[in-house]
């Protein structure tokens, strides 16, 4: 406690003050750098922009555009999308009540399939617009809930221009362990999670769920066979 006593005991010289200040600064920097990465976190817009830019880069890569490299490209895009999109939350959102009845293995299987499916859809959307025609115009932050049950949310609004028609795309994000992750994409006021939730609303039993999983497999295989046929691989 000697340092406390010294402070309490009155004026110290400017040199000593500087040393004490430097020590406190050092401790602060150490704490921030080691244990509080959240302070240096990316903004929601930066997270989305980085993810979108990287996907465009991968899709424009001439080497990856070679048909024999398409499977690799698909995997790389999926890896990037997984960094910024919370497919676990999305899966919970679309299956709603049925999610609570699922086993851990079933949930993992669904998240993996749904991620692959959404990645394919996202590539289609991205392919329709060039990166130069995308602009990020707004970011809003909010906190939902109270006390322990609180979640930080953000909405990043972007505009996509094509053939003189502007589409508004809003990325809904939630902060999870200090990182912003997208949990819904709203295109022209249409929440994709709400749309899928409406489609999956009648999934109330095992039989219907199995049919959904089979449909997911079909759609994923359809994409794979399209790539195979187009690239003759």
């Amino acid at each position: 406690m000697r340092w406390e006593v010294r402070i309490m005991n009155g004026p110290a010289g400017p040199r000593k003050k500087m040393k004490a200040l430097a020590a406190m600064l050092l401790a602060g920097v150490f704490w921030l750098a080691t244990f509080a990465p959240g302070y240096a976190e990316e903004s929601p817009t930066t997270t989305v922009q980085k993810s979108v830019r990287e996907i465009y880069r991968l899709l424009a890569d001439e080497n990856l555009a070679q048909p024999e490299n398409w499977p690799q490209r698909e995997q790389l895009v999926l890896d990037v999308v997984r960094q910024g999109f919370d497919f676990h939350k999305m899966s919970r959102g679309v299956l709603a009540r049925y999610w609570r009845n699922m086993s851990a293995a079933e949930r993992d299987e669904f998240v993996a399939l749904f991620s692959e499916f959404l990645k394919n859809i996202y590539i289609r959307v991205v392919e329709a617009y060039s990166y130069d025609n995308l602009t990020f115009v707004n970011e809003s932050l909010d906190v939902r809930g109270k006390g322990d049950k609180m979640v930080e949310v953000a909405e990043v609004t972007s505009l996509a221009e094509q053939r003189n028609v502007t589409a508004t795309v809003v990325y809904k994000m939630a902060k999870d362990s200090g990182k912003w992750m997208v949990y819904d994409v709203v295109i022209e006021n249409i929440s994709q999670i709400a749309k899928f939730r409406a489609e999956f609303a009648d999934i109330t039993n095992r039989k219907k769920y199995d049919k959904l999983v089979a449909d997911l497999h079909d759609k994923i295989n359809q994409r794979k066979s399209e790539l195979k046929n187009n690239g003759n691989i």
């Binding site: 000697r2 340092w3 010294r6 110290a12 000593k16 040393k19 004490a20 430097a22 020590a23 406190m24 050092l26 401790a27 602060g28 150490f30 704490w31 080691t34 244990f35 509080a36 939350k89 919970r92 959102g93 709603a96 609570r100 859809i121 289609r124 959307v125 329709a128 939902r144 809930g145 049950k149 979640v151 949310v153 053939r163 003189n164 502007t166 809904k172 939630a174 362990s177 949990y183 819904d184 022209e188 006021n189 249409i190 929440s191 999670i193 709400a194 749309k195 899928f196 939730r197 409406a198 489609e199 999956f200 609303a201 959904l212 449909d215 759609k219």
Partner: protein, 264 residues
């Protein structure tokens, strides 16, 4: 002298203690998050977190049940009918049309048709009390009709940053509290609802084409349909590709789209 020689030591120890304090506090703060061993409590906490987090994040997604669809059987029939019309008639026509006219020309034509429907947007923005939007629409019409050569170009948007306001009578009724009534899938026209069908009737007198000769008006409308369709080829296919039940997906998308437009 004793005090003076001690102080540098004190400052050094001060730094060490602060570092140690920071380390201890950080470890204590981080422990509950990293959670060394996974026990039953942690799993149930995670499940509980999922439950309340979903309520917070997806509460606004609970709009599914709001779409009343008592005529679902008939609507599904018309949905299939429209699907066939698209693939067997509209798409081949629009594809053939697009072979003869370059995309830029088709975009210009679409701009022209949009410009012609200015009265619909002006009256509905006025009725909704969106006077700024009314001014924008009038300015857009003036700029695009003159500088944009009869509305074929859109300098109002490109040069003056004046985007269009898509307002119609269905939205106006929605703004004043009219509900959707029920979902309707109309032959040839696609998704709609009772309120928006009434809205179509309300907008009819405001459409300048309505005052043209019937034959001329029909030709213009057909050209408009094929032209605009030619700029959307592939969108419907993508929509179906992303859907597990395209009928429900369309119904919900339309509901959300219109609700969003009314809320704007």
């Amino acid at each position: 002298m004793k005090g003076k020689s001690l102080r540098p030591v004190i400052d050094f120890r001060c730094g060490i203690r602060l570092l140690w304090l920071a380390f201890t506090v950080s470890v204590v703060l981080c422990l509950p998050q990293t959670g060394g061993a996974v026990d039953a409590g942690t799993v149930s906490d995670a499940v509980s977190r999922e439950a309340w987090e979903d309520d917070l994040l997806f509460d606004e997604v609970g709009v599914v049940d709001e779409v009343a669809d008592p005529l679902e059987s008939m609507n599904r029939m018309f949905f299939i009918f429209n699907d066939k019309v698209y693939f067997w008639v509209a798409k081949p026509l629009a594809t053939g049309y697009s072979w003869f006219l370059p995309e830029e020309f088709r975009v210009c034509l679409r701009n022209g048709f949009t410009n012609l429907k200015m009265p619909v947007r002006v009256v509905n923005t006025l009725l909704q009390g969106k006077f700024r939007a009314t001014g924008t629409e009038l300015a857009r019409f003036f700029i695009n009709t003159t500088m944009g050569i009869f509305g074929l170009g859109d300098p109002a948007k490109e040069e003056f940053d004046l985007p269009p306001y898509e307002e119609d009578f269905g939205q106006t009724m929605g703004v004043y509290g009219a509900g959707e009534g029920m979902y309707l899938c109309l032959p040839f026209l696609g998704p709609s609802n009772l309120r928006d069908v009434v809205g179509l009737v309300g907008d009819y007198p405001l459409d300048p084409l309505r005052y043209a000769d019937v034959e001329y008006s029909a030709k213009i409308s057909a050209t408009q349909f094929v032209n605009n369709m030619s700029l959307k080829i592939g969108d419907y296919e993508k929509f179906k590709e992303a859907a597990f039940d395209p009928y429900v997906a369309m119904r919900d998308s339309y509901h959300q789209y219109r609700q969003g437009k009314i809320a704007e």
